[in-house]
Symmetry: C2
DNA sequence: GAGATAGTCAAGTGATCACTTCACTATTGC
DNA sequence: GCAATAGTGAAGTGATCACTTGACTATCTC
């Protein structure tokens, strides 16, 4: 066995999703306003199929939402995914600052 | 050709780095205080070699720093990487809010 | 100096990734 | 109804990933 990296709950998927430049470009672009799949594909230099695959992933981790209007799928940004990672960063910062506080206490005691 | 996903500047690497649960655990753990390589490996259930590989990646994108003291490598968290992604999120939020503002203007005009 | 301890290097492996192409199914507009 | 348009599904491919093992180099301790 080449080993398993443990389970993959949402937060993994969100970071992983944003680790890809095409997907990050999609999110950034949708932050400016809703777009169709083919519109999203245009500047990326990849096929609509590939964009569709990225969108499925982005939707699955709360970074994008979409709905079909006729034959067009309209995509828009979804805050949930971004909030997830913002919270993780905040959590880290908290741990870090708590530690600095404790360190300050110890130094203060002397 | 199976296509290239474009260039990979720091921000890609940071997101990619944090997409792995072991690496995220390392960062989280170091937020509580500095640790040696083998201490980091202990709760992860992977070899020190693997941890060393993760650390190299984490260092290369400004999430961790380390220095050798004798035969031990002491690792600590580094803010740069986290700041990078926090800024990206802020950038997205800005785009999104600007758009909402413009939308508000348009609606207000009528 | 000898033996344990801490980490590193090189090579290999199976799994996953980011794409592709080709065939197909809605819709839309003349 | 028919052709163009918008998207989806399945299968395949090369590249990268997250690990491993085994051999090696410091460094510390007695």
């Amino acid at each position: 066995m080449a080993a398993a990296p443990a389970i993959s709950p949402p937060i993994d998927r969100v970071f992983h999703a944003l680790g890809d430049p095409s997907r990050r470009a999609i999110v950034e672009r949708l932050a400016r306003g809703p777009l169709s799949v083919s519109r999203l594909a245009e500047p990326l230099g990849i096929t609509v199929t590939a964009v569709g695959q990225h969108l499925r992933l982005l939707e699955s981790c709360g970074l994008v939402a979409s709905e079909k209007h006729g034959r067009t799928r309209v995509c828009r940004i979804e805050a949930a995914g971004l909030i997830t990672i913002a919270q993780w960063i905040a959590h880290c910062r908290e741990l870090w600052e708590t530690r600095l506080d404790r360190l300050g206490d110890v130094l203060g005691e002397e």
